[in-house]
C-alpha cells in the first residue's frame, strides 16, 4: 500500500510534500511534490502543479507536471497543463492540452 493515500471524499487545500508514494483519490488544490511515484485516481479532481519521480493520471488534473522518469495519462484521464518528463504517454481515451518538454 502506498505511503500516503488521499481517499475519495477527502479534500486537501494546500501543499503536500512527500518522500513516499502518494495516491490521490480525492480532491487536491495547491501543490504536490514527491520524490517517489504519484498517481491521481479516476475520481480525483486536482488543481495543482505536481512533481514526482513518475506521475500517473487517471482523473482530472489542471496544472503543470514534472517527472524525471515518466508521465502517463490513463484512459479517461484529463490533463490541462504542461508536461516535463523523459517519457510521456497518452492513452487512447485520455485528453490532454498543454506543452510537452522531453528535454531532448
Amino acid at each position: 500500500m502506498a505511503g500516503t493515500v488521499i481517499g475519495e471524499g477527502l479534500s486537501v487545500e494546500g501543499d503536500i510534500t512527500s518522500d513516499e508514494e502518494v495516491v490521490v483519490q480525492g480532491n487536491l488544490r495547491g501543490k504536490l511534490t514527491s520524490s517517489d511515484a504519484v498517481s491521481i485516481g479516476p475520481s480525483s479532481v486536482v488543481q495543482a502543479d505536481i512533481a514526482g519521480q513518475s506521475v500517473s493520471i487517471a482523473g482530472q488534473v489542471t496544472g503543470d507536471i514534472t517527472a524525471p522518469e515518466r508521465v502517463d495519462i490513463q484512459a479517461g484521464g484529463r490533463l490541462v497543463g504542461d508536461v516535463k518528463a523523459a517519457r510521456f504517454t497518452i492513452a487512447d481515451g485520455a485528453s490532454f492540452k498543454g506543452a510537452v518538454d522531453m528535454e531532448v
Binding site: 505511503g3 481517499g7 471524499g9 477527502l10 503536500i16 480532491n27
Partner: protein, 125 residues
C-alpha cells in the same frame, strides 16, 4: 482503521501537508500536518504523527503530537507517549499514563453528583 478502503486516508511518515484537510471518511496521520483537519470519520494521529492545527472528527485517537483544539462527536483517546495541547470537546476523554497533556476539557455532559459526592459534601460540613 486497518480497512484498505478508499474511505480511509493515510498521510504517511514521509509526508508533510501545509494547508487544510477536509471531507468524508477517516484519516490516519503518520506524518506532519500544519493546518486544520475537518473530517466526518475517525481521526488517528500515530506515534510519529504531528498535527499543528484544529481538528474536527467523529473520534480521535492520538499517540503522537497534537497542538490545537479538538471537537469530536465521539470519544477522544490520548495514548501513552502522546503530546496534546489545546481545548478538547468530546463525549468522553481518556488519558493514558505516560502522555503529556495540557488541555482544557469542555465536555458536553452533566456531572452526576451521586450519593458518593453527597457524602463527601456532608463530611466537609
Amino acid at each position: 482503521m486497518s480497512r484498505l478502503s478508499s474511505e480511509v486516508s493515510v498521510l504517511g511518515p514521509a509526508t508533510r501537508v501545509t494547508g487544510r484537510v477536509s471531507g468524508e471518511g477517516s484519516l490516519r496521520v503518520e506524518g506532519k500536518v500544519r493546518g486544520d483537519i475537518q473530517i466526518s470519520g475517525d481521526a488517528e494521529i500515530a506515534a510519529a504523527g504531528n498535527v499543528e492545527g484544529n481538528l474536527t472528527a467523529a473520534s480521535l485517537d492520538v499517540s503522537g503530537t497534537l497542538l490545537g483544539d479538538v471537537v469530536a462527536s465521539g470519544p477522544v483517546a490520548i495514548r501513552e507517549g502522546a503530546v496534546v495541547r489545546g481545548d478538547l470537546r468530546a463525549t468522553e476523554v481518556s488519558i493514558e499514563p505516560g502522555s503529556r497533556v495540557s488541555v482544557r476539557l469542555m465536555n458536553d455532559f452533566e456531572l452526576d453528583l451521586g450519593p458518593a459526592d453527597a457524602g463527601a459534601a456532608a463530611k466537609r460540613r
